[in-house]
């Protein structure tokens, strides 16, 4: 298998996993670079916060789409569940403590994800895409119909998020918001890194590459898929809760098909099956949208459409995949 062609003694799975878990200089530089907005672009901290949240969401989709090969067009349902859980907790029950709201948002999304995962593993190909799409649309309609709880099309009013650990207040400029989101993103990234570079992560790739052979080598692939789907739903829920807490609003948009589609586009741009691909895709997508929509919002779709077609035709592994191929060729 091509994934074993890394440097060093990788003939043993254990040493391969250990080697994958080492930090590279690029990784360290990348995370240092995420601190740049504090010093160089303080006016864009709001955008940086959006990017961090979108990156976390894209990371969760990468787990199911990039590693396990489940094509999903409805992942916004988990994002929205997390967002509404954190929002309802604050607006309806008056509990605005951020960390517990975050965890509860993740838990609720993961619980629903666990239930949904039983449905997801039953279907493949077009039916799978349609079931994820259908579940996403169902959740949207449900939230719209339950306006006594969710606020319906007006959005949920009256959310207030308390200080983090009782000391860090959310400020107008977004210093706290971005620090908070970045910290959560980093922690979840570490978790995802552990997951994909473990024996569990390897069996997920096995499912992605050849679903029929996995049972033949004694691997319970349905259980693996259910596990990763639940984890992914939980992370998406955390991302949604982050959005609620840093903006103090929830609208139906968090559940929309647009959000599900956007996150897949981000992932494809960056490169599926790579954790950094999800983050870089989110950065490029949101900055491009911010800049291009500033020029002419109507034609944002034109650019994203052209970009999508270009990436599929010429860079099927995304921007990161294309870069790593270029580098390897020079070697």
């Amino acid at each position: 298998m091509s994934i074993f062609h890394a440097t060093g003694d990788t003939s043993q799975p254990v040493s391969w996993i250990r080697q994958r878990n080492r930090w590279s200089i690029f990784g360290i530089l990348f995370w240092l670079a995420t601190l740049l907005p504090f010093y160089f672009f303080p006016a864009y901290l709001g955008l940086a916060n959006q990017v961090a949240i979108a990156a976390l969401f894209a990371l969760s989709v990468d787990l199911v789409l990039g590693y396990a090969g489940i094509v999903t067009l409805g992942h916004a349902m988990f994002f929205g569940l997390g967002a509404y859980t954190a929002g309802i907790l604050s607006a309806r029950y008056g509990w605005g403590e951020p960390i517990s709201g975050l965890l509860l948002g993740g838990l609720v999304a993961a619980a629903v994800g666990y239930v949904a995962s039983f449905l997801i593993v039953r279907v493949q190909h077009l039916a799978l895409i349609m079931v994820t799409l259908g579940l996403g649309l169902l959740t949207y309609e449900l939230a719209n119909a339950m306006s006594w709880l969710t606020g319906g099309t007006d959005g949920l009013m009256g959310i207030s998020t308390w200080q983090i650990f009782g000391t860090f207040r959310f400020d107008l400029w977004g210093y706290t918001a971005y620090s908070y989101s970045l910290a959560v993103l980093f922690l979840c990234f570490l978790a995802c890194r552990l997951i994909v570079n473990s024996s569990f992560g390897l069996s997920l790739r096995g499912v992605r590459e050849n679903v029929k052979r996995m049972p033949a080598i004694g691997s319970d692939y349905k259980w693996h898929l259910r596990k990763v789907y639940t984890i992914s739903a939980g992370i998406a829920g955390i991302a949604g809760a982050l959005l609620t807490q840093t903006t103090n609003t929830v609208t139906l948009e968090v559940l929309s098909f647009q959000r599900s589609a956007d996150v897949v586009v981000m992932l494809i741009l960056g490169g599926t099956g790579r954790l950094y691909g999800a983050i870089i895709g989110a950065i490029i997508f949101l900055i491009a949208r911010d800049q291009l929509a500033g020029i002419n919002p109507q034609y944002w779709f034109l650019w994203i459409g052209i970009l999508l077609m270009f990436v599929v035709l010429f860079m099927p592994k995304g921007i990161l995949g294309g870069l790593s191929r270029l580098i390897r060729r020079e070697e």
Binding site: L126, I129, G305, L308, V312
Partner: protein, 287 residues
């Protein structure tokens, strides 16, 4: 009460027939090549704009614009198939989904550029307007026209598929592409022709839809969900399945919005998920 039920069934069936014409092409091409073409609705949108522009700019009568809408959509699909789509047949479903949805976005932006974001109303000829009264219930004449046209198309499709040589080739290629190829059928050519015909039908459906659902640049994206539901519920490659799926969806959609408007499209999506979980290949799908 009875008259309400009848009118819901009638309107729903007319809407379903519209959906059938819009989506039957995708059913067959998906069954043939497993090519997930989310841009199918964009051909419908093209047909709609062709009809609107021909009627408004050149004063061509409505009925005459319908075959032209068919031709334009078919032509556009052939060009796209030859240049782009054929590279993607072996590219995996995710790439197909992304490329074609990118195409939908570009089509929407192009429609915005040329025609603006507004609705494009058309004025039907006098004999298609109004309604007739039967047993005390008023039926819209245009909806009757829609059902008649769609049933005629359905009959033609069945005849072509079941009774002609070309239809036999299509069925053979859908059933088993490899064996069909081994028997000397040029599956790629069959696919190209079927693709053009299917997209043409979508164009015709788009032209017929203008009066019922309106036409704006979001048409392709909006109907994408409906078309996909018809295809996946009916079963890939199954024309009778599509007919059944479209009729179910049309009646379900109209009935749901009429009887429980507060739930919106909830029931439709619930039905979609339940049907696919019980029968992942669709109601009448073989694979």
């Amino acid at each position: 009460m009875i008259s309400n039920i009848v009118i819901v069934l009638f309107d729903g069936f007319a809407f379903g027939m519209l959906l059938f014409v819009l989506s039957v092409g995708l059913t067959v091409t998906l069954g043939l090549m497993n090519f997930i073409n989310l841009a199918h609705g964009a051909f419908g949108m093209l047909g709609g704009y062709v009809t609107v522009m021909l009627m408004r700019q050149f004063g061509i009568p409505f009925l005459l614009t319908l075959p032209l809408a068919f031709l334009c959509a078919a032509l556009a699909s052939v060009i796209l198939e030859r240049t782009f789509f054929r590279r993607l047949y072996r590219a995996g479903e995710l790439n197909q989904v992304l490329f074609t949805i990118g195409l939908v976005f570009v089509a929407a932006a192009a429609a915005t550029y040329f025609f603006g974001t507004g609705q494009q109303p058309i004025v039907l000829p006098r004999w298609l307007r109004g309604s007739v009264e039967l047993f005390g219930i008023r039926f819209g004449i245009y909806r009757i026209f829609l059902i008649v046209v769609s049933l005629a198309i359905t009959a033609l499709l069945f005849f072509t598929l079941e009774r002609t040589r070309f239809g036999a080739k299509i069925r053979a290629a859908v059933d088993n592409q490899r064996v069909a190829q081994a028997l000397g059928l040029n599956v790629e050519r069959i696919f190209a022709v079927t693709f053009a015909l299917g997209s043409g039908l979508a164009g015709l459906g788009g032209a017929l839809a203008v009066e019922i659902v309106g036409l704006d640049p979001s048409f392709a994206l909006h109907f994408l969900v409906y078309v996909l539901i018809v295809v996946s519920v009916g079963g890939l490659g199954s024309v009778p399945g599509s007919f059944l799926g479209a009729a179910l969806l049309g009646i379900g959609d109209v009935a749901g919005k009429y009887l429980v408007p507060e739930l919106g499209s909830f029931l439709i999506y619930l039905l979609l998920v339940v049907i696919l979980l019980i029968k992942p290949t669709g109601l009448l799908g073989k694979r």
